[in-house]
């Protein structure tokens, strides 16, 4: 496990100003705001909440982005533009923290910023970047508000929760229909901040339209210390399907408590379930994880680059989580746009991103197509934990297993 994060900005700075190993050993103190030498590499802002409540996801996001940058630089960088210089920023899990970093990155002359992770951070950071017409690629942040404010600089590679809930519902209906419609009743357990509440609202509107009856919608805070009462309610009302939408820790607690109380609905169908499509969860709690389904961000399992990256990440003793491959894909997207733009000029880069039809990413989205900043092809995918592994079950074009529903007794 690497404890010492390689500081790209510092390394490149030292190399280009030829201070060499001595300076590197002593560790430079000054921030590289000094004007650079001519022929400077392209600067890319990499902004994630690496401290604070979201630090795990932030660190995974940073990992994915920096791995992509490393790879690109290893083959000489971007054609005609040279290597990418990563300017790392810590959003400290707050919008103010993120905004301050955007200011610094803008000052440092970045061509583009990638990241943000959390919706509330992204809302603030994209806005701050918009002041400088600085292109910003959102890695995850699912709130619809991120791309509906008319900001020309904002691009979101992944899906928003409007698309996610629609897809989740369509797939749930498909799975249920294929099994002979054994499920009718549903209970939703969601975390009560932006993504959970937003998703729950949409599900509440759309589920009845597909013939499902919602017995109860249970919001809970993050963190929640104990799920026994929630599970009590589930047990008492006995829904056919439980739909969780929350972060990793709460998801695990909920699943473990359900296992403990021997609550076994016909299916656990998560939408953006925090642990439902997490290798860590499957590895550490195989019994609680078995048969759980998720509609979440996932890589294209047939994509060889994705498999290669997975091996590389696991070789570093990290889990291959969605933050990693989404950021990785975003960086490649930006690199492609830079190449097509032929320059690090922000306006040209923004135009290149807007007209991008990039397929070199790892996600099952098809070539990118941005309309009002949203990548139209972006969609979540359905997974299920089968044979102690996470398999894609829908859409069938990318699937490597068939959904198993209802859950075997």
């Amino acid at each position: 496990m690497s404890k010492h994060k390689i500081s790209f900005s510092r390394r490149q700075f030292l190399a280009t100003t030829a201070l060499g190993a001595a300076a590197a050993a002593t560790g430079s103190v000054a921030m590289p705001t000094v004007l650079r030498a001519q022929g400077a590499p392209v600067k890319l802002g990499v902004l994630h909440p690496v401290t604070g409540a979201l630090s795990y996801s932030g660190q995974q996001g940073r990992l994915g982005a920096t791995m992509a940058i490393e790879e690109i630089n290893a083959v000489g960088g971007i054609k005609e533009l040279g290597k990418i210089d990563a300017v790392l920023g810590d959003a400290q899990s707050t919008p103010e923290g993120g905004t301050a970093e955007v200011e610094k990155m803008n000052s440092a002359g970045v061509a583009c910023i990638v990241g943000g992770y959390a919706s509330n951070i992204c809302l603030a950071t994209t806005q701050a970047a918009a002041r400088y017409e600085l292109p910003y690629v959102v890695d995850v942040g699912v709130a619809d508000g991120i791309v509906t404010r008319g900001l020309k600089n904002t691009f979101r590679f992944g899906p928003g929760f409007g698309v996610i809930s629609k897809t989740a519902l369509a797939n749930l209906t498909t799975i249920n229909d294929q099994a002979g419609k054994p499920a009718k009743t549903v209970m939703i357990v969601h975390e009560d901040s932006l993504f959970g509440s937003g998703l729950a609202k949409l599900l509440n509107a759309q589920l009845p339209q597909q013939g499902f009856e919602i017995l109860e919608t249970i919001p809970h805070p993050t963190p929640t210390r104990d799920f026994n009462n929630v599970v009590l309610k589930i047990k008492a009302q006995n829904p056919d399907i439980v739909i969780p939408a929350n972060y990793y820790n709460e998801y695990v607690l909920l699943a473990r408590t359900m296992q403990q109380q021997q609550v076994k609905p016909k299916g656990i169908y998560s939408v953006l379930g925090g642990a439902a499509s997490s290798y860590k969860f499957v590895k550490e709690f195989p019994d609680a994880a078995r048969y759980i389904m998720d509609c979440n961000h996932w890589f294209d399992p047939r994509n060889e680059k994705a498999q290669a990256l997975k091996k590389k990440v696991e070789g570093k003793d990290q889990f291959f989580t969605y933050e990693v491959y989404m950021n990785y894909s975003c960086v490649y997207l930006i690199a492609d746009a830079l190449q097509r733009a032929g320059s690090a000029d922000r306006a040209k880069l923004t135009a290149a991103l807007a007209s991008s039809t990039f397929s070199g990413h790892l996600m099952p989205y098809g070539p990118t197509k941005f309309i009002n900043g949203q990548n139209e092809g972006a969609a979540p995918v359905n997974t299920q934990v089968l044979d102690n592994d996470i398999k894609v079950v829908l859409p069938s074009a990318f699937a490597n297993a068939k959904p198993l529903f209802p859950r075997p007794a």
């Binding site: 010492h4 994060k5 500081s7 900005s9 510092r10 560790g27 103190v29 000054a30 921030m31 690496v50 401290t51 630090s55 932030g58 660190q59 790392l88 810590d90 707050t94 919008p95 103010e96 905004t99 301050a100 200011e103 610094k104 803008n106 000052s107 509330n120 809302l123 603030a124 806005q127 918009a130 002041r131 709130a143 508000g145 404010r149 008319g150 900001l151 975390e191 009560d192 901040s193 932006l194 959970g196 509440s197 937003g198 609202k201 919001p219 805070p221």
Partner: protein, 331 residues
């Protein structure tokens, strides 16, 4: 009025900053620091001068932020009217909280924790109530213009927050020199003795709370205008309660400039720590915490107290100064 000269000078100097400094990084930093200073000055009126340590000033900050956001987004009300509404709401909340807590005779740590509990109650309600957007929060539409109190240039925001801070400085100054201030300080030093001397302790504390709440609510309203997004964690989270009490204590409680100085120092410390620590997550905060502890160790009466102490040593004046920082007060 001669006493207002330092305040005027400080404000004038600060007002000139954007004319010289054009870096948006710095301006953004200063804007946030001033906003924290404003929230801290609010706390200072009640805690510094009044000796009533509140751990829940987020209640006022958040109310200020939400009221203006909701008025604009749900009712289409003008941002300036929203601003006035925020301050009024904050003051009203202060009055209610004050009436409840002071009448029960809550003091010291009990008072502190009750305020914390109130802030938490508000946070929880805000996270589920439809009017605040519940978990999704409230997003104010980006619409630059004076009418909507949203500005393209950071300098404009800077001057707005500076003006608010200026008003709070003058307020603190006026309180210091008024009879009300004398009563308030008397209550802080020894509430029972003050009561015995005929001071209406509860009334005085209540007024202080209302002023305190109004000022902090203004800071919250500014946050909403600057970041355009409010949710329950941002509005009522403990982060702002802690900042609001940290900055006056570091800068010097019960002094006019304490919160301002404290805010600038604390935020600068955060930045300096980041520079030193580089990109390793958490290292900068370790440095920040360590320096905090060291500052308390070696400047226990806050920086202004420390400066006064240093000045005393330099000038070698005999006799005690009327320092407004004192020893431990149990409640």
């Amino acid at each position: 009025m001669k006493a207002l000269i330092p305040t005027v000078v400080v404000l004038a100097v600060l007002a000139g900053v954007p004319l010289v400094v054009h870096s948006n990084v710095t301006l953004n930093f200063l804007v946030v620091a001033l906003m924290i200073a404003l929230a801290g000055q609010g706390w200072n009126i009640l805690g510094g001068y009044g000796g009533q340590y509140s751990f829940g000033h987020a209640a006022f900050f958040g109310t200020g932020a939400y009221v203006t956001a909701i008025l604009q987004v749900r009712y289409g009300i003008n941002a300036w009217v929203g601003f006035a509404g925020s301050i009024a709401a904050g003051a009203a909340l202060g009055a209610v909280l004050g009436a409840l807590t002071f009448r029960s005779g809550l003091r010291g740590s009990y008072f502190a924790l009750v305020t914390l509990a109130f802030a938490e109650v508000l946070r929880i309600i805000a996270s589920v109530a439809p009017i605040t957007g519940a978990g999704v929060g409230t997003l104010i539409k980006l619409d630059l213009g004076v009418r909507t109190l949203q500005f393209q240039s950071r300098a404009a925001f800077y001057w707005v927050i500076l003006a608010l801070v200026g008003i709070s400085l003058v307020t603190a100054q006026l309180i210091e020199r008024s009879r009300f201030g004398v009563w308030l300080i008397a209550v802080r030093e020894n509430e029972d003795a003050a009561k015995a001397l005929g001071v209406n302790a509860n009334g005085v504390k209540l007024v202080a709370m209302v002023i305190s709440a109004a000022i902090t609510a203004a800071a919250g309203c500014f946050y909403a205008q600057y970041f355009l997004f409010v949710d329950s964690g941002i509005a009522y989270g403990t982060w702002i309660s802690i900042q609001a009490l940290l900055t006056p204590i570091i800068g010097g409680v019960g002094t006019v400039f304490g919160p301002l100085l404290g805010a600038l120092v604390v935020k600068s410390l955060g930045e300096a720590a980041k520079l030193l620590a580089g990109d390793a997550p958490g290292l900068d905060l370790i440095i920040y915490g360590a320096v905090l502890v060291l500052v308390i160790w070696f400047a226990p009466r806050g920086l202004i107290g420390g400066l006064a102490h240093a000045r005393k040593l330099l000038v070698r004046r005999a006799g005690p100064t009327a320092s407004s920082t004192g020893e431990a007060r149990h409640g």
